[in-house]
């Protein structure tokens, strides 16, 4: 049932080396670590990311952005900009050809601001010129006269109705109310009650590849856009509306995507580049620099949660009460869904019969927030896992034990009334982590008496801030749970076409879908499935574009399930046709035949009966399949009840940290993760998802926060917004569990998001264990770790073992 994913020891290493040398080794099918087909081009520097695109004669676009978080636009004067040599055009709201509003869930964001700006960084005009620097100078030369207004930046004020409406319908984007059982009446039964407030900051997806695209007019009023995206079909819907064109006149091709993590669900350069290209009749490229990128995509919602837990002395939860507020910023993006998702999982992966959850997403004049890996469940997990450690402290109980006592299992009823109908191996994940040996103590980093300390193994590293004095160690655990796929009644589907033909005497399979490869490895999975289903080694995955049907977004940890399901089913149709043809030719029933090694074989003996080349000659067998997951329903507005989800996925972490209590510096010593993935379609890629997600969780715990003061972003650069480096990221000990999911292709479950949930609270729980501090907010800053007499009167002695 379980597999140890981390190869360890010399044996494993030499096996890998054999793989390198053995160039005759077959390409690999489902469940094996097939090399991703785009990797060779990527290591050679020949893979075309969106920012690498070019065409002779293209222009470069640039964006004028508002310096004010809230203001009326009185006038825009582009005349000086147009005088600059090399500037082709400058466009404003008046030039937007179609609907000047767009959005994934609700069209409320102007393509270019018209009369009013609602956040600092909002696009007001776009320019095109023959050199990127000329385009930037044009941007600087555009004169916009603003009447500056007082921004509304406090989400509580927004909720209370203060600050004036940012949108006509008021400042609450969505309220979610979940009522299950009866908290009021069971309250007296709780023997121990803890209350706490937890906050999380604004995290930036910080994908490395900048937002970029190349728009090419087709000469008949339409446009082709090559762009980095998570969901090209939804992009097209929004772009066509903005351009006032029929969707068939807007064609998108997915370009190389340099990471996404939710930040490429909303549009960035898309409509702007197309507008400029159509206006000038020339190709236009746009590519943000890092600073603009901080304004060009949505961030993770900052959150404030109040949690009250009531429990028996045994640790058994009696009730859970949560109030949670997310600041959605100036436009809706996906805020209504993010708040729902936060509320679904606000009570954690625990059995509790009495639950009250109230969640709010509000509008403010902060930059817009939307999708980011984990999608609301990250904030919810941080809060509930912090509260669980607080409860463990109040009960004097081991934090892992408390979690195991309350762990959900198959059949448990969630706060939304839905029964968990797939495997829920929460206890197994926790027990695995609990039983893992701890990393050895390294009091001074030296690994032995009498040797100089290795500073790299101490908090502060080669900064030489400590030689081991006043360093305490802590251990923390956390558990995360999230739904997989689109929830709440959305008809979620993906489309794939699989064709098999004979090229140069050998069978070749071509797979075609619009699934966005953002780095996660869907291209590898799409190649693996036909190898397994059709017994053909050579598989080509075509570039994703909008000439085939929708694949849905590379989001919600859904793409391998949904597009994998479509590819598997399309392969099934191709196989049926091949076997039927072979049956006629061989005079055998198709049930006696199978596909393997590029031939039709006897099912029982495996003997080849006819090769695919002989069977097909010059013909192609092709099938298209649209895969839908089972229907779901929205939760109701009154009590938040409903079967909203198709599946749940779980991950848990154990973090070990060392803290320099004099300076508040932290070294994460080790992060261990355990996750159930149903079926590891490509074990190496699954490990990569868990490792990458874990590191992003570390970033939120310790480093990453977009600092916003009065609506202004103060740190839009990698100099001031810190993402984890290889020195910040510890060795990871990863265990992958495979409990097959009953409803999915191959029994797989979604993988990408769960590790991002539990990593953050595990680290903060370890810091709490080391220092005895309450640490209500993330990221935890050095000052939080040294101010003993700080907030909440948490003037306690460190509890961690002094090393």
């Amino acid at each position: 049932m379980t597999r140890t994913a981390r190869a360890g020891g010399a044996g494993a290493r030499s096996q890998t080396i054999t793989e390198v040398r053995d160039r005759t080794a077959p390409p690999l099918g489902v469940g094996e670590s097939a090399v991703r087909p785009d990797a060779p081009l990527k290591v050679l520097g020949r893979f075309a990311f969106a920012s690498d695109l070019y065409l002779d004669g293209m222009l470069w676009g640039a964006t004028v952005r508002s310096p004010h978080p809230r203001a009326r636009i009185l006038s825009i004067d582009v005349s000086e900009a147009l005088k600059i040599r090399g500037v082709a055009t400058v466009l404003t709201a008046a030039d937007v050809p179609g609907e000047n509003l767009y959005g994934i869930k609700k069209a409320d964001q102007p393509v270019l601001a018209d009369r009013e700006v609602r956040y600092a960084g909002e696009a007001v005009a776009v320019a095109a010129a023959d050199h990127p620097e000329t385009a930037r100078r044009a941007v600087e030369a555009v004169r916009v006269e603003y009447e500056v207004l007082t921004p509304l930046t406090d989400p509580e004020q927004a909720l209370a109705g203060g600050g004036g409406p940012i949108h006509p319908g008021g400042n609450v984007a969505r309220r979610v109310r979940i009522r299950h059982g009866d908290v009021g009446s069971v309250r007296p039964q709780a023997e121990v009650v803890v209350e706490g407030e937890y906050r999380s900051g604004v995290q930036d997806p910080a994908f490395l590849g900048p937002e970029a695209g190349l728009a090419v007019p087709d000469g008949s009023g339409g446009v082709d856009l090559y762009v980095a995206s998570q969901w090209i079909h939804d992009d097209r819907r929004q772009i066509a509306a903005g351009l006032g064109l029929d969707p068939s006149m807007v064609r998108l091709t997915l370009s190389g995507v340099g990471g996404a993590f939710g930040g490429r669900e909303d549009l960035s350069v898309h409509i702007h580049a197309c507008m400029l290209a159509l206006r000038m009749g020339r190709p236009v490229k746009m590519s943000y620099n890092r600073e603009e990128s901080f304004f060009g995509h949505v961030h993770r919602h900052p959150s404030r949660s109040r949690i009250e837990l009531g429990a028996k002395r045994t640790g058994e939860l009696v009730y859970t009460k949560v109030r949670l507020i997310l600041d959605g910023g100036a436009y809706t993006s996906t805020s209504q869904i993010v708040i729902a998702n936060a509320c679904y999982f606000a009570a954690g992966a625990y059995r509790v019969d009495n639950v009250e959850i109230d969640g709010y997403a509000v509008y403010t004049n902060n930059p817009p927030r939307g999708a980011m890996r984990g999608f609301g469940a990250v904030q919810a997990c941080y809060a509930i896992e912090s509260a669980m450690d607080r409860l463990a402290g109040a009960l004097g109980m081991d934090p892992v034990e408390l979690r195991i006592v309350n762990a959900i299992e198959e059949g448990s009823i969630l706060p939304t009334g839905q029964a968990v109908d797939g495997p829920a191996p929460v206890r197994e994940l926790l027990e695995h982590l609990r039983d893992l040996p701890l990393p050895p103590d390294e009091p001074d980093g030296s690994g032995g008496p009498g040797r100089a300390p290795d500073l790299r193994r101490l908090p502060g590293g080669v900064g030489n801030t400590t030689r081991g004095e006043n360093v305490v160690r802590g251990v923390g655990y956390a558990l995360g749970m999230k739904a997989i796929g689109f929830s709440g009644g959305v008809d979620d589907y993906s489309t794939a076409r699989v064709s098999l033909s004979i090229v140069g005497g050998a069978p070749l399979v071509e797979v075609y879908s619009a699934a966005a490869e953002c780095g996660q490895g869907i291209v590898a999975v799409q190649a693996q499935i036909p190898r397994t289903e059709l017994g053909v080694d050579t598989v080509v995955v075509r570039p994703a574009d909008t000439l085939i049907g929708d694949a849905g977004s590379s989001a919600a940890s859904r793409q391998t399930w949904m597009t994998g399901g479509a590819v598997q089913a399309a392969c099934g149709r191709v196989r049926t046709e091949l076997l039927e043809r072979a049956a006629v030719r061989l005079g055998r029933p198709p049930e006696d035949l199978a596909l393997a090694g590029g031939a039709v074989c006897e099912r029982v003996s495996g003997e080849p009966a006819v090769t695919l080349a002989e069977l097909l000659g010059g013909e192609t067998v092709e099938a298209v399949f649209e895969y839908h997951h089972r229907p779901t329903e929205p939760i109701d507005d009154v009590n938040g009840q409903g079967d909203a989800h198709i599946a749940f996925a779980y991950a848990a972490h154990r973090a070990v940290v060392d803290v320099d209590t004099d300076l508040g510096l932290v070294r994460v010593v080790e992060l261990a993760a355990a996750q159930d993935v149903g079926k590891a379609m490509n074990p190496q890629a699954v490990e990569g998802q868990i490792e990458g997600g874990t590191a992003q969780g570390l970033g939120l715990a310790l480093l990453e926060e977009v600092q916003i003061v009065d609506g202004h972003v103060r740190n839009p650069s990698f100099t001031d917004y810190l993402i984890p480096t290889i020195l910040d990221t510890p060795p990871m000990n990863i265990e992958i569990f495979e409990f097959p999911h009953p409803d999915s292709p191959y029994g797989l479950n979604g993988v990408g998001e769960p590790p991002t949930l539990s990593s953050t609270p595990a680290i903060v729980n370890a810091l709490r264990d080391a220092t005895g501090l309450e640490l209500p907010g993330v990221p935890v800053r050095s000052a939080d770790l040294v101010s003993r007499a700080g907030s909440n009167g948490a003037d306690q002695a460190p509890r961690g073992r002094r090393t």
Partner: protein
């Protein structure tokens, strides 16, 4: 201005270079070598790492004029005879490539590390690659790739 330099063993000339352009811009937009990436253009991410006159530099921090007359090696210059360099092969095999935007810079930085220290410890690998950000992998497989490359190159 005119910038002449040697890139991956070939003499190249870029004309009409504006004084504010970086070596990275010249490589990418004037010479068509887009393997070196532009994740920050502020010297913080290492995605633009190249060799200049034998030393590792962030091409985004070198002005085009400074690169005049220089000898530059980019990620496009490592593979020989149509075969991946062992470092490139190791990144592929170990799954150290996800989105791949960090990859060219990391491969150059790994090349520099292994040419100075053919058998680095994990701590030495971390120290050497600390200037290269990767958002996707959590770095575990990058360390695996460096270890594998070191082993492969010591066997050759």
């Amino acid at each position: 201005m005119l910038v002449e330099l040697t890139v991956n063993g070939r003499r190249r000339t870029a004309e009409n270079v504006w004084a504010g352009e970086s070596l990275l811009y010249v490589l990418r937009e004037r010479l068509g070598l887009r393997g070196s990436k532009n994740a920050c253009e502020q010297g913080e991410c290492g995605s633009c790492s190249v060799y200049m006159d034998g030393g590792l530099v962030c091409a985004c921090l070198v002005s085009a004029g400074q690169a005049h007359g220089a000898e530059v090696v980019t990620v496009e210059g490592l593979a020989e005879g149509g075969r991946l360099h062992p470092i490139q092969q190791a990144y592929v095999v170990e799954g150290a490539v996800q989105c791949g935007f960090c990859t060219p810079g990391l491969i150059i930085a790994t090349h520099q590390l292994l040419s100075e220290n053919p058998d680095p410890s994990d701590d030495e690998i971390r120290e050497a690659l600390a200037g290269n950000l990767c958002r996707c992998t959590g770095y575990e497989k990058i360390i695996d790739a460096v270890r594998l490359a070191a082993l492969e190159m010591s066997v050759i």
